[in-house]
């Protein structure tokens, strides 16, 4: 579904990512680990097409199509959807209106908001004065309206209190497994996702298929996400870099 080949990305002439290779197959949920500043958010935002990220090498394929040079809206139309960690304040734009346009007028904002306990935010300006957890729920609400086929989720659990984490986790699970009747169908019928996580909390709710570790702007290794998380928790990323150097 998503294939990234030898991707090198600059921002203001500074290289943030180099020679990144990564894949998310249809129906798979892949996880991106890495220390702060490794370039995880930059990678996700580059995949979405934000213009400050200048691709100097490599390409991004989505469903076999080269989308490397497509603008953000074209990527959204093809089925990419992002949950941002720090979305901009949108003064004057009501969450209700954004949910409406994101669903192309097909879904009822109130019904969607109900599930995320966001009804009282529908008439507020998007992100203005929202707490960390409210931003996550607002992003998920917009995504549930948008209904993408590939979810790019940038730290869905950060800033969320312990009570809301279950709501956020279950919502993500619900979105990814929409239309899936039994676990065996997940890869054939479910949605795909690439999730950035530091704590791994979100993995209590969604079944992750493959993990990637990003360090210093490139993918160090990939493998079983739960085992990787265990290793990182025990030994940190230092070991990971050493391991790569030894290779």
């Amino acid at each position: 579904m998503l294939k990234i080949e030898d991707l090198t990305v600059e921002v203001n002439g500074k290289t943030l990512l180099h020679d990144v290779n990564l894949e998310v197959k249809k129906g798979y949920t892949n996880v991106l680990f890495g220390p702060n500043g490794a370039g995880k958010s930059a990678l996700m935002r580059t995949i979405m097409g934000f213009s400050e990220y200048n691709i100097v090498k490599g390409r991004i394929l989505f469903n076999g199509e080269d989308i490397t040079n497509l603008p953000v809206d074209e990527r959204a139309r093809r089925g990419l959807g992002i949950m941002m960690q720090r979305p901009p304040d949108m003064s004057g734009i009501k969450l209700r209106d954004l949910v409406k346009v994101a669903s192309k007028g097909k879904k009822n904002p109130e019904e969607l908001a109900e599930k995320l306990d966001m009804n009282r935010f529908l008439d507020r300006d998007v992100n203005v004065g929202f707490s960390g957890g409210e931003i996550k729920r607002s992003e998920l609400l917009q995504l549930s309206a948008q209904n993408p086929s590939l979810y790019l989720l940038d730290e869905p659990e950060s800033g969320v209190d312990l009570v809301s984490i279950e709501q956020v986790g279950m919502t993500i699970k619900g979105l990814l497994e929409e239309g899936v009747d039994c676990p065996g169908e997940r890869c054939s019928k479910g949605k795909s996702a690439l999730i950035i996580t530091h704590t791994g909390q979100v993995l209590d709710y969604v079944q992750a298929d493959r993990g990637y570790i990003l360090c210093n702007g490139t993918v160090m290794c990939s493998g079983n996400p739960l085992k990787m998380l265990e290793e990182i928790k025990n030994r940190g990323y230092e070991e990971c870099i050493k391991c790569r150097l030894m290779k």
Binding site: S51, P71, V72, P88, G92, I93, A102, K104, Q146
Partner: protein, 407 residues
């Protein structure tokens, strides 16, 4: 002639060629004096379609649905005055001055005749206008609509309005200022003196829709007493040569409140010098001055001034301007003055282009770039103005969308 009048006349005469502090200086004798011969219109519905449309574009509905009264001035004469809500008093300023001896204590008491040549001319021409009064304790759920129209080419229009909202009363007014189709050049001078008494509320919405060679010089002062509220919405979205205005709200009674909203778009060739001033002369008074302006090629000067002379004053000034083309310019001039302690005056000014990250955030939800810019611009100009007819709302939306798409 009484001494007062002699004095006023002398002062006005001495200011006959006094330039205004701001804005382009118009030579008054280049314009013919607007006609004072009345062309009465019994029913606004009998106007031709073009004129009705002109009225509608400034929020004035010809069928008077949803309005408690209507008043129309063409050039320098009253053409129509009608009332549906008999609680409201609505008549020409001249008639009111004849009817009420006491009204002289309100006339030319807030706006100075010698402020500049425009106020002087308006006084010396003995300009007529509208007088609207809401008696004590009365409330009107529907607004009174008034229209000041430049009806003839190359004329100057002078208008003198007085509004009084008595104790505990509440009144909404929509005033549309416009020019007849085909009247491309002219000069409008409008004096407005407004009194909001103890515990009263006045919601005043003014919509301007002029033509490319028209100069506009409103002069407005509002006096607000204890516990009174004055809310103003000023909207100017169409091309005009020059508007220079600096309405001043004097908060004279304890706990008086004002909120002034300005939304404007400067087209190529337009100069909009739009100010708002609040003077806090009593304890615990509050003001919020909000300006949202966009240039698509014209020049905008957004002035805002708050002068706190009493303890417990609290005010916030917000000038935000978008520059959508290289040819336009935005100048924000916020002034805060505190003359006693225990006051809180704040300001927030920002001018610039639309933030790319905001546009792309919306694009990531599937909106095209044009749709995203349109949504941001609409949000930018939305300061929650109520009472605008749906048709006008649609028209405002369309203007904004066109503005956004033009980039």
């Amino acid at each position: 002639m009484q001494t007062d009048e002699v004095n006023l006349k002398k002062r006005a005469e001495s200011a006959a060629s006094k330039k205004a502090a701001f804005g382009e200086d118009f030579e008054l004798d280049k314009f013919e004096k607007g006609s004072k011969v009345s062309k009465p219109i019994e029913d606004l519905e009998t106007l031709d379609e073009e004129s009705k449309k002109t009225l509608l574009h400034v929020g004035v509905v010809a069928n008077e649905e949803g309005r408690s009264g209507s008043f129309l001035i063409m050039d320098n004469t009253v053409s129509h005055s009608s009332l549906k809500n008999k609680d409201v008093e609505l008549m020409s300023t001249h008639k009111a001055l004849e009817k009420y001896e006491w009204l002289k204590d309100y006339s030319w008491k807030l706006v100075q005749v010698d402020a500049d040549k425009y106020t002087a001319k308006t006084y010396l021409e003995d300009a007529d206008g509208y007088f609207i009064r809401m008696p004590a304790g009365k409330r009107s759920s529907l607004p009174v609509q008034t229209c000041l129209m430049l009806d003839s080419k190359k004329v100057s229009q002078t208008v003198h309005n007085i509004i009084i909202v008595e104790e505990g009363a509440s009144l909404d007014i929509i005033t549309g200022c416009t020019s007849r189709k085909g009247v491309e050049e002219g000069l409008h001078m409008g004096i407005s003196e407004m009194y909001v008494k103890k515990g009263a509320t006045l919601n005043f919405t003014m919509i301007h829709n002029w033509a490319e060679q028209i100069g506009v010089r409103p002069r407005t002062v509002i006096h607000v007493e204890e516990g009174g509220t004055y809310v103003s919405n000023y909207i100017c979205l169409k091309p005009v040569r020059s508007v220079q205005t600096y309405p001043t709200v004097r908060l004279e009674g304890k706990g008086a409140i004002t909120r002034l909203n300005t939304i404007a778009i400067a087209h190529p060739g337009s100069e909009l010098d739009l100010g708002s001033r609040a003077i806090f002369n009593a304890p615990g008074t509050k003001a919020e001055l909000i300006s949202r302006t966009i240039t698509i090629g014209g020049r905008i000067v957004a002035r805002g001034e708050m002068i706190a002379n009493a303890k417990g004053s609290k005010g916030h000034l917000e000038c935000k301007g978008l520059v959508l083309t290289d040819k336009g310019s935005q100048l924000a001039i916020p002034i805060l003055e505190a003359n006693v302690d225990d006051v809180e005056l704040t300001h927030e000014a920002a001018v610039g282009k639309i933030a790319k990250d905001q546009v792309e955030y919306l694009m990531a939800r599937g909106l095209s770039e044009e749709e995203a810019v349109g949504m941001i611009v609409r949000g930018f100009l939305d300061v929650g103005i109520r009472g605008i007819p749906d048709e006008l709302k649609k028209e405002i939306e369309e203007t904004i969308t066109q503005t956004a798409f033009g980039t």
